[in-house]
């Protein structure tokens, strides 16, 4: 193979690589640069690690991190809910094709739309509490979005409802590719629903579950802004009860005119997300291997 022919494929992809490097690389470089500057307007003086010191020394930042970590608690729930629904659909309960569409609808709708609807539902005098009061369950009629103790859990309910839809579709797609004869054989051997799920279906689902868990972890750390923005009244409230790291960055950049601080927090969030991409790739590889060895 000549030197020229070895280079040819790289030359073909070079324009796209350069475009991507410009679109993603340039802003990234600028964010790293800004994180070391006291930016006023569009630039500012170099101040070393001062922005990082200020961010890491601020209670609000750590509170935001804690809220992101708290949101991770939603992942096991999402996995269980998604698996249960996916298995039910896989069992082809009557009308399963229609149910499949219905469960995926929340994922198709834009987050702000469903969050606004949910917010109305969960108001103190909203439909959810009205129903609870009608059922004489007044003790359960909480101030879902107006209480600092409850608001983040309300956000979590919304996230579980919407993001589980992705899990259901992923899991169902994987199940559809399983060898049905094994499951039929188990049925003939007298395995009940739980035994079939536990010993036959789940072991073959490991790769796709890992994939979903890693994707959801990244979501919880860096893609829940729209949820908290709407439910938290655009303030991360009540108080600071629903402030997450993304919201912290948004506030620093847009509302308090501190691009340097926003950049420092962004760099830290970026590095954490990058660290999580490696397990994501591993999970994807495992899912592919599972598929290949089936």
């Amino acid at each position: 193979m000549t030197r020229t022919s070895r280079l040819t494929p790289y030359l073909y992809v070079a324009p796209l690589v350069l475009l991507i490097a410009f679109v993603f690389g340039y802003p990234l470089v600028r964010i790293f640069e800004f994180s070391f500057k006291m930016v006023r307007g569009i630039d500012g003086p170099w101040i070393g690690f001062r922005n990082y010191q200020l961010v890491l020394g601020q209670d609000l930042f750590w509170e935001s991190v804690l809220h992101n970590v708290q949101l991770l608690l939603a992942i096991p729930v999402m996995v269980i809910v998604s698996l249960l629904v996916a298995i039910l659909l896989y069992e082809r309960v009557a009308g399963w094709k229609l149910y499949r569409i219905i469960v995926f609808v929340p994922f198709v709708l834009a987050i702000p739309i469903i969050a606004v609807v949910m917010k109305r539902m969960f108001q103190f005098s909203g439909p959810v509490n009205e129903v609870l009061r009608w059922l004489s369950l007044d003790f359960m009629a909480l101030d879902w979005i107006g209480s600092s103790d409850v608001a983040l859990w309300t956000v979590m309910i919304l996230i579980i409802w919407r993001e589980s839809a992705l899990g259901i579709i992923l899991f169902l797609a994987r199940m559809m590719s399983l060898d049905e004869s094994v499951i039929e054989a188990a049925k003939l051997e007298g395995a009940n629903w739980w035994q079939r799920a536990r010993y036959i279906i789940l072991p073959q689902m490991r790769g796709v579950i890992e994939f979903f868990v890693v994707v959801s972890t990244i979501t919880m750390l860096s893609a829940v802004f729209a949820y908290v923005y709407v439910i938290g009244g655009g303030r991360g409230g009540p108080g600071t009860a629903t402030v997450v790291v993304e919201f912290y960055i948004f506030n620093a950049l847009i509302r308090t005119s501190l691009p340097g601080i926003a950049s420092a927090a962004s760099v830290m969030l970026f590095l954490v997300s990058v660290a999580l991409i490696f397990p994501l790739f591993r999970a994807r590889r495992r899912a592919a291997q599972d598929e290949a060895t089936r």
Binding site: M38, R40, G41, I42, D43, L54, Q58, L60, F122, Q123, F124, S125, G126, D143, W144, I145, G146, S147, S148, D149, G233, G234, R235, G237, P238, G239, T240, N251, I254, R255, T256, S257, L258, I261
Partner: protein
Amino acid sequence: MTEKKAWDLSRRELMKMGLALGAGSALGGMLPGSARAQQLTMDWWWWGEQELPGLQKVVDGAVAAYKEATIKPMLQDTAVVISQFQTAAAAGNAPDIQYLWNGIYHMESVWFGYLKGLKELIKPEILTASTPTALSNFGGDTYRVGWYPLPMLWIYNKKLFEQVKLDPNAPPKTWDELLVACEALKTAGIEPLGGGIQDGYWSEWYISHALPQNLDTVGEAVELFIGDKDFRDPKYHEHWTKLEELKTKGYLNADMSSLELYPGIDLVPAGKLAMGQSIGTRLPADLKTANGEIGVMVMPVFGKGKLAGTPLLDVQGLGISSNAEDPKAAAAFLEFLNSPEQLKAFWDATGWIPSNTTFDSSVITDATVRSMWETWGLGKNISNVTNVMPGQFYERAAIPTGQQIVQGSMTGEQAGELAANTAKEWREFNPDLVENYQKWVVDLSAS
């Protein structure tokens, strides 16, 4: 033989064209001023249709009526009013005329050098009549012309007052009178006071009304941020203690924490809440909803500062950017907006009052609205102190404190502690801005 293309000019033809263009320019210089000014184009970035429907019509009408220059208006999105201007100004591409919120929301641009002082550009009588408010002053100059006013007030439902034998024409003036009224309303099963605090603005408005009660000047509020005064001093967090009192006595509406500002205000004209905070621009519509049974009042007095009990007036304004090609021409347009014809056109298009003390208020037919304008707009008033708050303080202390007190998870004293710590944190994050704030105190304390 090749065909001669249209753009293939000979050297002679090129010279001829150059001479013709030169002669044209020279002749243009001899034309009357107005004809030359036609060629000047100015950009005007504005905002406000979002809070005052009809403003688009005002802008379109003014642009069409102005013959001295071509004005190119652009309505800005709420989220980028400040950042879009500052970014453009930093790049040298700012519009000639820029919409400016009051106080720190434009003062930062003054400090960056993005705005022109107006005292040398606008006729003093027009500048004063437009009431740009004291928060537009820095270093002895003024940086905004007032455009439209936002009187900040408390409203109450007269019918609900009558139901519990309270005088509908004599709303409470002191804190003790307020507590008596609240108790009477509560006893009758009527939610006495509140609104919606979920989006945080109620917190801000509460501070606007209540903090000045223990201040002698607006400059004193700035001293709280730069560290010369301390929110831990009971005098400076008494307003939050009073809010806590309203909460613990059960006078705030039960769903206040889960309602947003405007749905919360709607409760008063709807007869579901007796008193609440509001804004003048809403008054005509609220009067209509409640069949005229809405009264306006200044927040009842508890404090001992010189500003206590004074009506609160915020004003949205316009300024001239440092990038303006011809600042005098931009100033002329701002003066044009304050001409009697344009002030009337403003009223006709919006049903709201323009910010100008020379506006003929006899056109206001509703007695409540006219009385409100005479008290809040033409009488002695003070600026909105939350407009001197640094953004970091606003987000970290001003909004959360109110929300947490209303939901019962914070005391007034704790709010003072959080405010003091946040002010300190802001000083650490923004050492450069502290210096400017220190200079600003001089202007604000003088006015």
